[in-house]
């Protein structure tokens, strides 16, 4: 029927396509890549983050997110909300200013750019005159004061960006006002900071790089007071009562200046302090002091660490009375702000929000011990490098609740306070179903995320390392600081890119949502079978070693050794607990994994072969070695070599970080050396241009390395031997374009526990083009993909048509091919690489519902190519339907980490090892209409 429609009604098909397929980029999950600026509006309760790629993102209550993108591809260096307005101003590093607003539109708000401005100086002036270094959004909401590199302050009226030339404060005006005795009237340098007097809006303090601060009256246009600091200025803060100004300096000191009439001038430099003094310290880049109703004020500052010993730490110090803590972050601090309680947001400080390069950390300042508040969004997916991901949609409520309960038990150390940033209202309806995203990490953890709604919420973390003996001391960096340590460090944040044993890394995950069985496979050939348990339990993990080489001679594994399993009983916390470990030998990376919970079988593959394990009887069913005898690389385990390179790199980075401080001392001596190195680098670059990149054109051959690497495993109940009897089967596809099919004989259900499961080889297909096989799908008599295990048993899928003949669709990197079953002969194919040069990277089966009618839908293959395009290929006729550009082709790891959901969403981690943004591309209209 379909065929008829396709040929007879070409136009109808086109219309149908429009109804079925619709591509939408919906949201980006996780933490923005390379944040560069932070802003906060207490009145709106919105947090703004600017990124180095020119994006601006606003976050409020969980689910409230706005995103804007500057046309210029320049980094956002500053974000300022106009006080008490809905506008915000961004400064880009191309010196352009942009005005954004939130505009209501049909009941929802959207972030819009409403103006842009570039400061123009007098004709002939050098560009430095107008290069903006400091921005002050005046409390009137109408003025913007722009301090420049030339030392001038320009006044601009907003939102129209009208320059008020007559109100500009020129450097000449300032220098004329400086008392003659100020350090020989040296150059004042650029405007470093601009701060408004909190009690008198007409007064601002202008801080110059050299250290001089001038309190200026905007109305009277004269200098009120001069604060002659001697150190390079980093930041200023005007206390709330207007009586003092705090200045922080590049030598790690801060000063408290009294603001008052000229008669009190002798009291000037009231208090100067280098908090981590004696030895040279790094600059304090930002200082904040906030009063409390009763008791001492909060003093918070960023940096100021002793240069030699702790110069590489990223710290924010919080001092409140006798409590003094240096919060130690794992990545560079971009900026921070404090949220204050009370209806006018003028009360006691309630929370400290810190934006560091890799995460946002919020600290509850009102609870004893200043615990961290768990972030409902902006969670770094990549706290440890993401090594794989797995998506499961429509989770049954029971399993969902069990996961949540286990997760709650883990989060006891978090603050009980609610999330403090509650701006906006999430208008999105409740998600129609519960979706789970599982991410596997390099440190051996599996994180469970609630992926049903717009934002990705952490639910539960599974640690697989507990089952093994590892070199890493679990208390290594979790140690609370020793008594009396100075500065009083406290580690905060969960971002830890360093894994101490790369063998723990998770490579493949498969969760059966109906049975709750979870299979997790890792870098050292370990496959853990887990099941949920609501209570903590102590038990031993049974280990089965499976030899994938099967006595092949002459092989020597030179890679990593297997992990040592704890033989004594281990206490496992509530949640998923391992019950069986299958250990592949040689312990190479597990490259493919498939779980069939109905048959209680798990299939696994490495670069050496694949095997089938019966986890009910704890018995290995069979092993097939796929190794090509000439493949030396696979034998010796180069993957592990790569890992060890990574490890040594990591170590050397750590060394560099440590030695950087000492290097700086010899800076002067090294100047010549650096020059020399630069010259050499230029020479190398020139050479590279002479010898451009070239690519070898060669047919794939059976002698290529890693042809035996198992890429995909698939269970299917289909016709393998004859067209009347269907049997369970296991399909495997290798890197060398080979497909193996095994017929599985399962004992009758009543004998399932004692009779052995057997399997025998049935088919072997060698694709002539030898491209890696990425996906295998069996289609039933209607041409629909077979349902997942237990789906039919739970009445969630139509049982497959077993009357008409089945087909198997093999997706390789280069083409899609449909073969008939049980006699394998090619029926149809679609070439991709030969036609447009792109290769399939990821493939998934998805259901596309029509946007017009409820009752029509089609299954299709969703394909992501190495060019970052998403294609939809129809089944069973393998015809190209639609394609959309989705990910930049340079974003290799983003492409590699893509997962598709059954409802046609694509999810991928953009550079998961670095940023972990998971933009979710929505493919199906039905799904789109419902969200």
């Amino acid at each position: 029927m379909k065929r008829f429609r396709r040929h007879a009604h070409e136009s109808q098909r086109e219309r149908l396509k429009q109804e079925l397929f619709h591509f939408n980029k919906t949201v980006e999950h996780g933490f923005p890549h390379q944040p560069s600026a932070l802003g906060y509006s207490p009145s709106l309760q919105l947090l703004a983050i600017g990124t180095r790629s020119g994006a601006i993102k606003l976050y409020g209550a969980p689910g409230v997110e706005f995103m804007g993108l500057h046309d210029e591809n320049a980094a956002v260096t500053q974000v300022h909300f106009m006080p008490h307005q809905v506008e915000l101003v961004t400064l880009l590093d191309d010196n352009s200013l942009h005005m954004w607003t939130l505009r209501g539109h049909k009941g929802i708000s959207e972030l819009l750019e409403i103006g842009r401005f570039m400061l123009t100086g007098p004709p002939g002036a050098p560009p430095s005159v107008t290069s903006v270094t400091a921005v002050l959004a005046h409390s009137s909401g109408e003025l913007l004061l722009l301090g420049t590199e030339g030392g001038h302050v320009f006044v601009v009226e907003v939102p129209g960006f009208r320059e008020l030339e007559e109100r500009n404060i020129s450097l000449d005006q300032i220098t004329n006002s400086i008392p003659d005795d100020y350090l020989g009237r040296r150059n004042l340098e650029h405007v470093e900071a601009l701060v408004e007097n909190p009690i008198n809006p007409s007064q601002v303090v202008i801080g110059y790089g050299r250290g001089l601060m001038v309190i200026w009256d905007l109305e009277k246009k004269n200098a009120v007071q001069h604060l002659p600091a001697t150190q390079q200025l980093e930041s200023m803060w005007w206390t709330e009562d207007g009586s003092h100004i705090l200045s922080s300096h590049s030598d790690g000191s801060y000063c408290r200046w009294r603001v008052g009439g000229p008669e009190e001038e002798e009291e000037e430099e009231e208090k100067s302090d280098i908090p981590y003094g004696h030895f040279p310290c790094k600059a304090i880049s930002k200082i904040v002091q906030l009063p409390t109703e009763e008791g001492p004020p909060f003093l918070l500052f960023n940096g100021g660490m002793p240069r030699a010993s702790y110069g590489d730490r990223h710290c924010i110090t919080v001092i409140h009375g006798k409590t003094h803590v240096a919060l130690d972050f794992t990545s560079r601090i971009i900026d921070f702000f404090v949220i204050r309680s009370g209806p006018q947001h003028t009360g006691d400080p309630s929370a400290l929000v810190v934006l560091v390069e890799e995460e946002v950390v919020v600290i509850d300042l009102q609870t004893e011990g200043w615990p961290v508040i768990q972030t409902p969004y902006l969670v770094p997916l990549h706290s440890s490098a993401i090594t794989c991901s797995h998506h499961v949609s429509a989770i049954p409520l029971k399993l969902w609740e069990r996961i949540i309960t286990s997760g709650e038990l883990q989060n006891a150390h978090y603050s009980k306070k609610p999330w403090p940033i509650m701006g906006g209202q999430n208008l999105a309806p409740d998600p129609p179903q519960r979706d789970l995203l599982l991410t596997g990490h390099e440190d051996g953890t599996v994180r469970f995320w609630d992926a049903s709604g717009v934002c990705l919420k952490p639910m539960y973390t599974l640690r697989t390392a507990t089952a093994f003996h590892t070199d890493a001391d679990p208390n290594d960096n979790m140690n609370p600081s020793a008594e009396g340590e100075w500065p009083p460090f406290r580690k905060v944040g969960c971002f830890d890119p360093y894994s101490d044993d790369p063998r723990l890394g998770i490579q493949k995950i498969h969760l059966c949502k109906y049975s709750g069985h979870l299979a997790v496979a890792g870098t050292a050939g370990q496959i853990l079978m887990l099941e949920p348990n609501d209570e903590a339990a102590e038990h031993t993990v049974e280990t089965k070693v499976v030899d994938l080489l099967q006595g092949q001679e002459g092989f020597r594994w030179k890679g990593h050794t297997r992990l040592n399993v704890r033989e004594d009983p281990v206490e496992f916390p509530a949640g998923f607990q391992p019950f069986t470990l299958v250990q592949c030998q040689p312990p190479a990376v597990v490259t493919a994994l498939s779980l069939h919970s109905e048959w209680k079988l798990v299939a696994f593959g490495t670069s050496h072969g694949f095997g089938l394990f019966d986890y009910q009887q704890n018995n290995n069913v069979f092993v097939r070695c796929t190794l090509n005898p000439s493949d030396q690389l696979a034998l010796e385990g180069p993957l592990s070599r790569v890992k060890s390179i990574k490890k040594s790199l990591r170590q050397s980075f750590r060394r560099i970080r440590r030695s950087r401080v000492s290097l700086r001392k010899h800076h002067a001596n090294n100047a010549a050396k650096i020059q020399e190195a630069n010259a050499r680098m230029e020479a190398e670059l020139a050479e590279m241009e002479l010898a451009p990149v070239q690519r070898k054109i060669e047919a794939r051959s059976s002698d290529d390395s890693f042809t035996g690497l198992v890429r995909t495993l698939y269970f299917a109940d289909t016709f393998l031997s004859d067209s009347t009897h269907h049997t369970p089967s296991l399909w495997a596809g290798t890197n060398g374009g080979c497909v193996f099919a095994y017929m599985i004989r399962l004992p009758a259900i009543e004998h399932r526990a004692d009779e052995p499961v057997t399997a025998q080889p049935a088919k072997e297909i060698q694709l002539m083009h030898r491209a890696p096989v990425l996906g295998i799908v069996v289609l039933d008599g209607h041409g629909a993909p077979l349902p997942e295990p237990l789906e039919v048993a739970h009445d969630l899928a139509r049982s497959p048509d077993m009357q008409a003949s089945h087909h198997v669709v093999v997706t390789s990197e280069e083409q899609f091919k449909v073969f008939t079953l049980p006699k394998v002969s090619s029926k149809m194919k679609l070439k991709l690489t030969a036609v447009d040069g792109s290769r399939v990277r990821r493939v998934g089966v998805a259901w596309f519902g029509s946007s017009r009618t409820e009752d029509y839908g089609e299954s299709g293959l969703v394909v992501l190519t190495n060019q970052g395009d998403v294609h939809v290929v129809s089944l069973p006729h393998v015809k190209m339907q639609v394609h959309y550009p989705c990910i930049r082709r340079e974003d290799v790891s983003g492409i590699a980490s893509c997962v598709f959901t059954r409802q046609g969403q694509g999810k991928h981690g953009s550079r998961p090892s670095l940023s972990g943004v998971l933009p979710r591309a929505d493919l199906s209209v039905l799904r789109q209409a419902s969200t």
């Binding site: 451009p692 990149v693 070239q694 690519r695 070898k696 054109i697 060669e698 047919a699 794939r700 051959s701 031997s721 017929m743 025998q760 080889p761 049935a762 088919k763 072997e764 297909i765 060698q766 694709l767 002539m768 083009h769 491209a771 280069e814 083409q815 091919k817 006699k823 394998v824 002969s825 090619s826 194919k829 070439k831 690489t833 030969a834 036609v835 447009d836 040069g837 792109s838 290769r839 190495n866 060019q867 082709r889």
Partner: protein, 400 residues
Amino acid sequence: MNKTHRVPSSRSLSAVEVKSKFGAEFRRFSLDRSKPGRFDEFYGLLQHVHHIPNVELLVAYADVHGDLLPINNDDNYHKAISTANPLLRLFLQRKEEADYAAFGTDSLTRKKNTVLSAVLLRPDANKKKPPVIISLPKDFRPVSSIIDVDILPETHRRVRLYKHGQEKPLGFYIRDGSSVRVTPQGLEKVPGIFISRLVPGGLAESTGLLAVNDEVLEVNGIEVAGKSLDQVTDMMIANSHNLIITVKPANQRNNVVRCGGGGGAASGSSGRSSDSGASYYGYSAHGAVASMPTHIIQNFSAGELESDEDEDLVIEAGGEAEAIRHAPSDYSIPSVPRYEPHLNLRSHFSSAYSINANGTLHGSGSSGSPNNINANSASPSPDRAKERRSLEEDGTVITL
């Protein structure tokens, strides 16, 4: 065996004396030089005289130079008859026991060397080995060809590389570069893909049709403009079993041939024969190219461009490996693709022959009847070719 000594007679001048050897047995008979008939008739005759009606034979003869040459089609049969002086010495072998190494120059005097290596060795112009081994025409196979010369601009060259099995690497590298294009806005520098290196001994180098710095314009009919180096690499690898690349040769001097050959397209179409091919190579500057015996100039239909030679190998449980293939095939080795162009080659040869034959016959002033014979002898062969081609077309529809 047959010891009757024949006295040369006036009649015997037009007759060819045939001495046929099969195993240890000899048969002698004669043929009319002017009416040699067709090869299949001759073949039947041989089976008849040796009383081996159902034995597949390999027929060879010793030519004037003492070379052992095969007779397996009308063309070389007629050649053998016409050159017999006066005795035609035939050597018959069972096909299954055939010793292909025996053929070639000085093959009758030369000691036989190992059979297998000789079979594998194909004429290779770059190797300056004096004895050129000539295998049976069925062992000839195209390694590369220039195609679509009539539709492409003279500055471009479309080259087809045939990758048979695993014998020789394709052997070239490509790189990014820039070329200058003429656009309505004037000259414009555009990015392009170029051949950067040829692997010594590789297919690309040994054909002589590709050279370093040739710009790659198309891969299997798809333009590479706008595609990245990696995309083009992947396209070429995906098409590696039947790679057709259109290049703009860096050395444009060789293109003079067609303009300078006189008559341009007209001469090209009339002379679509082995002769014109020879003249082409005669003009070309590459010495290596000139001596290449396996180049063919031919046109490919779109269907042939699409023709796909990847046949997946399926092993059923306990069974033998078989190639998935729907089109019936003459060749039993599944991994070796079909060489359809070879058929075209043969039809060209036969038509060329008929023209030449007509010319000589007219020159000798004989009656019209030989013309008919020639016409007959020539006609079946295109017919057969047509038959085969239609089969082949079916093949492209059904094959994978």
